[in-house]
Symmetry: C2
């Protein structure tokens, strides 16, 4: 490609609404152009990256035995009504009506349509397993689209769906996909982690997120540096402390803490470690009748160490919480504690509540909590002596760095990541809702066992940039760079020698299969270099009259601090050596 | 690809709603699966064809200097309001509202968005010409979607848009695209014709349709077998007859023609050629005031030879018709002719009308038309004697086979075609509406000159099938076949020799870059052959124990009447020879 035949359109300034570096740099590098909130044109430079992502995904999906098809963007509502998602999903599901007033949705995923296809196509266990995928435009009407391609409304996703005869086979299909995902992310040249994720109501542990590591990532990733353990924050288990509960040494003492309604404030006031305080979170669960009206509510008191945070996913799995929970209302709190929030605790309750102690709280002695009286806390609290042993002890907190790894191999560390892929065992959730069966070996109909597997094709480049950039711009891994190499001739219009060498190097790289662009725009060197550093092409060859007199050109990798002189005889081999490095 | 790893899903019966052969065969061959009216899943077998079409289009577009980008499927209404198309377009433009109640459309084309991009990107004439294209999902909410992929609602289109500094440059860009389209359609291996098309209000003659020739085509194509002239029916000119008008020889005679209200019936009754009759078409034009109310109507009488048909596009271009026309109402007809339709004519009018005679009618003598009296016609009608010379003589009819070619090179012939591509000079229609300007060499802003260029990517396979099929199924051209070759082993599970030779041939073809599938499903030969003949894979190699004993396998091209024996030593070369044939 010659630059004069392409669209190179860089900007000095990032758009005002760009909050994250990938959004800023993709816009400045002319890769995306905003059309509306969360809706972007993929400009020629950006589309090249997306196409490379797609090609790698497609190749590895095919290699893993998945079969490509394409499901419509506009999908009739009927199938979505079969699974109930047409009504259950929030406004992020874009619902539309056609000219005849019939309901349609724009696909955010395609479980319904692929299940409909397979229930028609697959009749016998002999046709299983099957895995269908598509690389297709999706739409989610996010309330607050932002971060460019990171959280857009229209985006491209690779979604795959496996269909198996039983759970064992479904797990094998899942593992094949997880393996393919590892190959895909390896090929992208990104630092990533596959982390165990919560599998929701389906249970089991067959759910993994593929997280591109980046300090700016939205997700907290938990891992163990001395083992292979990795999970997302929702999933990572906080083990029960190995040390037993200490003996009570302090008397229960009511202490004035005027205006100190947080554990931090109380610990500071009393000059004790935050870890000696206990925070009280008051939740409630409702029992509904068939009309969906609340017939009974139960108030819960969750106790967490002052320096720990509640994990909503773990709380949602407590026995009795399966139907969902909410924070208690002020009147429920007054009613049970006789006090307003900020000074609550499990001692001296006005009415009984369901107490759940986090594992760490359950082994504490001589702790501090609210006195259920405004502007007072109590110190020297001890289980069994000052209050009954907790009704339930459970892991209800987020892990913190330094916690023991659940696999017993060391301590946990935490880093930030951007989710770009997800493999998920679905079980029979969709096949049951849509009566998608096949005839088993015994001739009886059985529900299809399913898995689903997504990769955010347009999100991936944004994640790659969050991980790989500097103050000058993007630094693409070779595999997904818009161009792998750029030839920058200086004074091409003035010097025949420069022009000839530039063409020679350009054609030589092309012939070697390198995706190279020749910058024949005639820009000044400073502007030209700034463009390519912003765009992030990893390999640059600069050709000037001065060097040519000595028989050399300059090579610089985008990560190199400075360029190195390479003889014209060696430059092609030099680039190729750096490519395969 | 091995068949066991793919989805081969053929049907004995075509769906009840399939009216055309391509719809029937694509469904039966498992290439598409209906999801809703005009909305199809592209099944794995069909998607392979679509991807090959896309690849050829992409390659030739790139070669022609067009730059690929992608514009969103969901587009904000604002740009469509700028050009007025948001309001002007009918319900085929699918309008939607997002969660905030903002208006959007699903793109049927992208003139607005690409013009918006270019008006931001292009500042100077130095950046021109530019041509941007995308291969992207489109939606047109057809009132009556049918014919499978031929007239679907959701479809894939390649749309390109050229931007130039002046008309001369725009015409050059247009010619580059027209040339690229020829290369593309040549590569598809289809019989097609590029035909001049009407360019509507823009004028000029820079509009060509690319029509795949097929007896089942919706469009009539006019061409001259002895020259390069080709046009669609709307556009093809009917030249003025070269012979002068004959002298009047008959007296004007009123003739009873009870119940004979068509030219055909009258000609049969009077036993004269249909070409001696003249049919009267009564149209009307309205003058509107600023409120859009009709303030005045004009009645027109169009006269055509009884064996000719009116051409609406030509009529729409008559002076006075620019604002559109309609058929006259019954009361307008009674009012001007004093008679009901079926017996109308230009002689003895009750009120004056604007008479337009087709060129052929203007040279007729002794002709027959309605008497403006029910159940009567008049014969021996002659211009100048029985009625004034026509106010206007014009080409207002469709050409018929045997008409003189407008280029003077012979006679016209007519065949049927399916429009799969269109190149169109747009001028400044969109750039003016959207104020898309660039600075010319004189430093003054000028409107961009545009062209647009479409290829129906998902329609093309359907057109290819309409042109290439037989009673057994599809016959794909090599370039767009889902698989180029299929290896069919007979009794692979019983015979090691068959299995080994099948693998050898399969791997040999793969290594030679042939897109081959090995049918390892273990189907019986009859069912296996029927599948591949239905699917339409052009090259088949059948391997059986019996032949292998003689050192031969069977080769059959999908168009061959029977298979031929080829030695195992020669089979790879034989297939490749047939491929390049």
């Amino acid at each position: 490609m010659k630059a004069s035949q392409f669209l190179i359109s860089t900007l000095k300034e990032a758009p005002a609404d760009a909050e994250v570096v990938s959004h800023k740099l993709m816009t400045r590098a002319g890769m995306i152009k905003k059309l509306g909130a969360g809706i972007y044109n993929y400009m020629p430079m950006g589309l090249r990256v997306i196409r490379k992502v797609e090609a790698i995904v497609r190749e590895e999906m095919n290699r893993a035995g998945a079969i490509e098809m394409t499901m419509p963007v506009v999908q009739p509502a009927e199938l979505w009504q079969e699974t109930g998602r047409f009504d259950k999903m929030g406004p992020e599901l874009l619902r539309i009506k056609d000219r005849h007033g019939r309901d349609f949705v724009i696909q955010p995923t395609s479980e319904e349509v692929v299940t409909d296809v397979v229930r028609q196509e697959v009749r016998s266990y002999k046709q299983l397993p099957k895995n269908f995928y598509q690389i297709q435009t999706k739409f989610r009407d996010e309330r607050r689209p932002r971060f460019g391609l990171m959280r857009g409304r229209e985006f491209i996703m690779k979604d795959a769906y496996s269909f198996d005869r039983d759970m064992a086979s479904a797990k094998a299909s899942y593992q094949v996909m997880a393996g393919a995902y590892r190959k895909i992310f390896d090929r992208f040249g990104l630092t990533y982690r596959a982390v165990a994720a919560d599998s929701g109501a389906i249970g089991g542990d067959l759910s993994e997120e593929f997280q591109v590591i980046a300090a700016t990532g939205e997700d907290a990733i938990v891992y163990c540096p001395s083992s292979s353990y990795a999970a997302n924050m929702e999933k990572a288990e906080a083990l029960a402390p190995s040390q037993p509960r200490g003996a009570a040494t302090q008397a229960l003492t009511k202490t004035p803490t005027p205006g100190k309604s947080t554990c931090e404030d109380v610990a500071a006031l009393l000059n004790v470690p935050l870890s000696t305080t206990v925070k009280s979170l008051v939740l409630a669960t409702d029992t509904l009748n068939e009309q969906g009206e609340i017939v009974k509510s139960q108030v819960w008191l969750l106790l967490l160490r002052g320096d720990h945070d509640m994990n909503e996913v773990k709380v949602g799995k407590l026995p009795g919480m399966e139907g969902g929970f909410r924070f208690a209302t002020l009147s429920e709190i007054e009613d049970h504690f006789g006090c307003k929030p900020g000074y609550l605790g499990p001692v001296n309750l006005k009415k009984p509540v369901h107490v759940v102690a986090d594992r760490d709280v359950s082994v504490m002695a001589d702790w501090i909590c609210g006195a259920n009286e405004e502007d007072f806390h109590i110190t020297g609290v001890n289980w069994g002596r000052d209050l009954p042993e907790p009704a339930l002890v459970a892991d209800i907190r987020n892990v913190v760095a330094g916690d023991k790894s659940p696999d017993g191999q060391g301590e946990l560390a935490i880093e930030r990541g951007i989710e770009v892929g997800h493999v998920f065992y679905l079980g029979t959730k969709y096949s049951k809702a849509m009566n998608a069966t096949f005839l088993g070996e015994d001739g009886k109909p059985q529900f299809l066992e399913m898995g689903c597997y997504g990769i955010g094709v347009t999100r991936l480049p944004a994640a790659a940039i969050e991980q790989n950039h500097d103050e000058r711009g993007i630094i693409w891994p070779d595999a997904i760079a818009p161009f792998t190499a750029v030839v920058c001739p200086i004074g091409m219009d003035r010097s025949e020698a420069v022009k000839a060498e530039a063409e020679r190097v350009y054609n030589g790289l092309l012939a070697a299969g390198v995706d190279v662009i020749l910058d024949d725009r005639g820009e000044r060197p400073g502007a030209m270099f700034a463009d390519w550093e912003l765009i992030g092409v990893p390999h640059r060859i600069t050709i000037g009259d001065k060097g040519l007199k000595d028989g050399v050109v300059e090579y610089q990798h985008r990560r190199d601090a400075q360029s190195s002189k390479v003889s014209t005889a060696d430059i092609l081999a030099h680039v190729q050596a750096r490519l395969s490095a």
